[in-house]
């Protein structure tokens, strides 16, 4: 099996895996970063969202072989102390219900705010539409993004 060296949360990891293995399963099975979730495996739900070179990307749809040299950030690496403005706002609004989709939601929201510090409702809808929440926390997510934009 080929080996790949990936830069994840500022650390370098070498893994042995099939070349077509999605990043999602590298994170979950090989590196034991379990905050990134599996929801659909086909890029439709957003549960697996991570940052690749600063863009919100669906880790289930990125192959390990395409990622060498790229900067990958997962929910575990979003902030040292769990105090990224988006994480703080999420707690302030008590957003999660089951919580399963939330690391993906947070990763998408963090990129949105980095590129657009004052998003309108429309901007939020456009950036977040790929993240499904089966528990229906959408209204709170929108409020939390607005709060985070002020932090």
């Amino acid at each position: 099996m080929p080996t790949y060296t990936l830069k994840i949360n500022g650390k370098s990891h070498t893994v042995e895996a099939d070349s077509d293995t999605p990043l999602l399963w590298i994170l979950r099975d090989h590196i034991e970063l379990l905050g990134t979730k599996y929801g659909c495996g086909i890029g439709q739900c957003g549960a697996c969202t991570v940052h690749v070179n600063g863009n919100a990307s669906r880790s289930c749809s990125l192959l390990v072989s395409q990622l060498q040299g790229m900067e990958i950030t997962t929910i575990e690496g979003l902030s040292e102390e769990g105090d990224h403005p988006v994480q703080k706002a999420w707690i302030e609004h008590d957003v999660p219900q089951c919580g399963y989709c939330q690391s993906g939601q947070i990763m998408s929201a963090a990129v949105l705010l980095k590129n657009n510090p004052n998003p309108s409702d429309k901007d939020i809808d456009a950036a977040m539409n790929g993240n499904i929440c089966r528990c229906g926390t959408y209204v709170r997510i929108k409020q939390a993004i607005k709060t985070a934009s002020k932090l």
Partner: protein
């Protein structure tokens, strides 16, 4: 004043011991709270009620640890239940930590984590445990100071002398309280004395969730554990014969492949009835297993009819005409009343099969040895799981443990235990610990769906526009859709309700607010239409019916309290400024009662480029005492979005026994841009013990949505998902 007993027949519901590391440990029975009502003397108390399964530790530092054995599906019970204990204990919430009782201690066992039931069942027990602790700590302080307990007051974990200077904290006295005798009877606080219950406290697991800590079944790992996937037949009505076992076993990273059989004797309601024989593949990388799954080449045999969506419709239609009526109710003479009516309104409503689609797909860990089995995963049903695993493996019940993890959503799905059995069967076959993982496709095509329903409503008005006759005939695959004694039963002289179930080999199960989610939508849109035909405001029209149920009810009984039902309608009317009209804003209202709670909702819609957009939803909720206000609002908001989303966008269709929608590319779940912009929630204040919150927010949303869409489009939407049936012309016009 409410008093509860801490013992019955000289057996105690409370067990006190010294805490390791200093302080006091109060063990209690999580589901038991006996009031001192004399009637209780006659009741046989089941043995389980004496089982100690909840713990409160009052450490000598004053830190209070509440071990919550209840798993979390997303209803925030891990925060709200400890709040109830802390209220009666009178301790500062800042000094309370909630801990998940560690795995494998048996703490979790015998817990039923049943949706909206959780708080309802444990309300008295949690209060009793907290109040007992408080009382014993007070007694210990009184003894220490040699004064009477009535000379003491306590607040926030600090005991003070009423007429003196002395104070002592819970932490300081806790070790001494261990020796106090457990009082037989305990006085609970007056509701008006609550100062923690009714406030908003943050989710105790919030930080862990936003930082991505492993909490869920899918995150569970054990050294030496292998991974497994399954493949069930591609269609209902099919069974596996054989597959290319050798080829699969030869694939990279695959350790084993075989067929498992999870048939057990006397299956219970939550045991699998459909796919009992499955292909299982074992390996140590999820991705390699998924690839192996795709390489399966199996022979499937057809064992029963392969159904499709057209057949389902036909079955429902046929049942209308000639099906066997199950649950029913008849008041007066509906036939005669319809004959005499001057206006008749008639409508048929339907909704499709739906999967639960919890965001975390089904999964379970199992470690089966010759004579024991350990299972860990996202289930609401540890005890039934133990029972079924015991039957499947022929291992005595006491050698089986089932522990629960946090759940990535439930909605009824995790009341069914098949995936734990499948994991157990695989572990037994390979003789090693294993975690079974469903793909989304497995999860969505497995069955256990919300049933498909169809109901026909008919109403008759007299010349003065009074509702004089009403009938509903509801069918469903496999269960009828009608609750015969719910509203409007009891309000109409001539009333007929008939429920008819129709067989199908598609497996179904409880889905958030079972049946109510459909019935509320149908009944509440129908009543909207009837009110319109009668020339009445939809809220006033319903209130008139409730007046009838209050003052002069028809028939012997009905399932709801008309005052509380009317109460939420009045509240939503006031809060939403019902009656006020705004240019371009279209409103709909609905109210429904289920899971012992009452909810009324108003939905406001605007048209954006001819497409409906939900601006705002107002909710008025009567769920008794609200424990954790902000979390309760979150639950109701979630229910509203869930109700609107599924009614508007979601459906599962069938072709030759197979579902056409297997993942979120073809199956639509509501997304951010489709959600209401704002949802405001108001609670009715009363002193009634807390009732359901997880389910009741959903059903009225469907009716209120349909009614608002009618105002916006002039079209009565009767078939779900509505988005497929809104005529574009109407919207653009």
């Amino acid at each position: 004043m409410t008093k509860v007993r801490t013992q019955y027949n000289r057996r105690s519901f409370i067990k006190i011991s010294a805490a390791a590391g200093g302080g006091m440990l109060i063990g209690f029975s999580w589901l038991t709270g006996c009031t001192s009502d004399p009637k209780i003397e006659k009741v046989e108390i089941p043995n389980e009620w004496y089982e100690i399964n909840g713990y409160i530790k009052i450490g000598d530092t004053g830190l209070v640890t509440i071990y919550s054995p209840n798993p979390e599906i997303g209803q925030n019970v891990r925060t709200s239940m400890p709040m109830i204990v802390a209220e009666e204990l009178d301790v500062d919430w800042k000094n309370v930590v909630v801990e998940q009782a560690p795995l494998n201690t048996g703490f979790y066992q015998n817990q039923f984590a049943g949706g909206s039931l959780s708080i309802r069942l444990s309300w008295n027990a949690l209060r009793m445990a907290g109040a007992t602790g408080r009382r014993m700590l007070l007694e210990a302080a009184a003894k220490e100071w040699e004064i009477s307990i009535s000379d003491l007051i306590v607040a926030q974990g600090v005991i003070k002398e009423k007429n003196g200077e002395r104070t002592i904290t819970y932490g300081e006295i806790a070790s001494k309280a261990v020796d106090i005798e457990v009082p037989e009877e305990i006085e609970l606080k007056e509701i008006s004395e609550f100062n923690l219950i009714g406030t908003s406290k943050k989710n105790v697991d919030g930080y862990k969730i936003v930082t991505g800590k492993p909490l869920y079944g899918l995150d569970f790992k054990r050294d030496g554990m292998q991974l497994a996937v399954i493949q069930h037949p591609p269609a209902f009505g099919m069974k596996v014969k054989n597959f290319n076992e050798e080829e699969i076993k030869g694939m990279d990273g695959i350790k084993d492949a075989f067929i498992i059989d999870t048939t057990i004797e006397d299956p219970d309601w939550n045991d699998e009835k459909g796919f009992l024989q499955l292909i299982a593949i074992v390996g140590d990388s999820t991705w390699q297993l998924m690839k192996a799954k795709r390489a399966i080449n199996a022979n499937w045999e057809t064992v029963s009819e392969l159904e499709n969506s057209e057949m389902h419709l036909k079955k429902l239609e046929d049942a209308f005409a000639s099906g066997t009526v199950g649950a029913n109710r008849k008041d007066g003479d509906p036939d005669a009343a319809f004959d005499k009516a001057s206006k008749i309104i008639e409508r048929t409503y339907s909704s499709p099969f739906l999967p639960h689609n919890t965001m975390e797909p089904m999964n379970f860990f199992a470690n089966v040895t010759d004579n024991s089995a350990e299972l860990i995963g996202p289930t609401q049903m540890p005890e039934p799981t133990e029972k079924s695993v015991s039957k499947l493996l022929n291992i005595p019940l006491e050698n089986i443990t089932v522990n629960m993890t946090r759940m990535g959503g439930g909605f009824g799905r995790r009341l069914y235990v098949h995936y734990a059995l499948e994991a157990a069967a695989i572990s037994k076959k390979i003789g090693a610990p294993v975690k079974l993982i469903y793909t989304r496709e497995d999860d969505m095509s497995q069955g256990t769906y919300r049933p498909a329903y169809q109901s026909r409503y008919k109403a008759g008005l007299d010349e003065n526009n009074n509702l004089v006759a009403f009938s509903v005939r509801g069918t469903g695959l496999p269960e009828g859709s009608v609750f015969p004694n719910r509203f409007p039963a009891g309000t109409i002289d001539n009333y007929l309700a008939e429920s008819i179930g129709v067989e199908t080999n598609v497996t179904t199960g409880a889905w958030r607010a079972p049946r109510s989610h459909f019935t509320a939508g149908a009944e509440q849109s129908f009543l909207d239409e009837v009110a319109e035909a009668a020339g009445k405001d939809p809220i006033d029209f319903r209130l008139e019916l409730f007046d009838r149920a209050i003052n002069n009810p028809v028939g012997e009984k009905h399932d709801y309290e008309a005052e509380r039902y009317a109460g939420v309608l009045k509240l939503v009317k006031e809060k939403s400024n019902w009656g006020e009209t705004k240019q371009g804003v279209y409103r709909g209202v609905a109210a429904y009662f289920c899971h012992s709670s009452y909810v009324a909702e108003v939905v406001d819609i605007v048209l954006l480029n001819g497409q409906p957009k939900i601006k705002k939803v107002w909710c008025a909720v009567d769920c008794g005492i609200v424990v954790n206000k902000d979390a309760a609002e979150n639950m109701i908001q979630g229910g509203v979005i869930d109700g609107i989303g599924h009614a508007m966008y979601s459906q599962l269709t069938f072709n030759n026994g197979a579902v056409n929608e297997m993942n979120f590319d073809r199956y639509q779940l509501i997304r951010h841009s489709q959600a209401p912009e704002d949802i405001e929630v108001f609670f009715v204040k009363n002193d009634i013990a807390p009732t359901g919150l997880g389910e009741p927010g959903l059903p009225p949303a469907v009716g209120a949505l349909a009614n608002a869409l009618y105002q916006a489009t002039g079209q009565r939407l009767t078939r779900q998902p509505f988005a497929n049936h809104i005529k574009e012309k109407v919207l653009l016009g």
